[in-house]
Symmetry: C2
Subunit: 157 residues, 2 copies
Amino acid sequence: MTISKTGSLHLEDLHVGQRFTSATHTLDAEQIKAFARQFDPQPFHLDEQAAANTFFGGLAASGWHVAAITMKLLVSEKPAIAGGVIGAGGEIAWPRPTRPDDVLRVESEVIEIKPSRSRPERGMVTLRSETLNQRDELVQVLTAKLVVPRRAGSPQD
Amino acid sequence: MTISKTGSLHLEDLHVGQRFTSATHTLDAEQIKAFARQFDPQPFHLDEQAAANTFFGGLAASGWHVAAITMKLLVSEKPAIAGGVIGAGGEIAWPRPTRPDDVLRVESEVIEIKPSRSRPERGMVTLRSETLNQRDELVQVLTAKLVVPRRAGSPQD
């Protein structure tokens, strides 16, 4: 992999099929409840007892909490994408619940690279990021479109 | 709109084209930075000065923060969906940045309703939720698939 002199990845450094693995994040019940109190205050994210009789059958993390942890793991990967991890949007799915004490990691693969026609200094990269737990079970799939600068003529040079 | 005796919305209470408007949430720089420190520690979410020379040209909220605030606004709507707002996944896009002091609200519309064949007690509802700022500018579009229980024979009865 070619790395620029600043040690970050530009569009030219990426290729379809390229894979990245993140560090891990260990969840616990208190993190699940703290996120839920602020952003998703529903019984199945707030309280073990109340969660038992819901769709989830027990305490589960908000999907948006899993998405936020996934982002934390993505932005801490090295080498980093030049200019940062900037997403225009994408598709997200949560095939199964995330539970207290799950240890999450993110495995990503470059799916598509499209240089921009109107903006020669950058392009759009489609990155599929699977968030897995310690049993290698898929808890989230995020297919995101990222804005990535080109090295030649980019402001980051 | 028909409301069940518990005051919550079941699959039978929803129809395509039905619209909902949330309360508002007022953002500020400190909220943006606090979320970023925990989940998306990139310069354009952490520091006004550092943000000035980035893609965003100034401090902007993490897209996942906007998603989390959108969820908070969705779950606080009344009448609530029976069993809670339970998303299996969806599509998300951030057409423009969210800034300090933006006042966000969510306007949602039911796009599709599909009773489940394998699970007669529930169905899947596609909800398109637009998150708008105080200038009625679109900052996020979320098209989410929600699990919604039927009133007849549902465990919520």
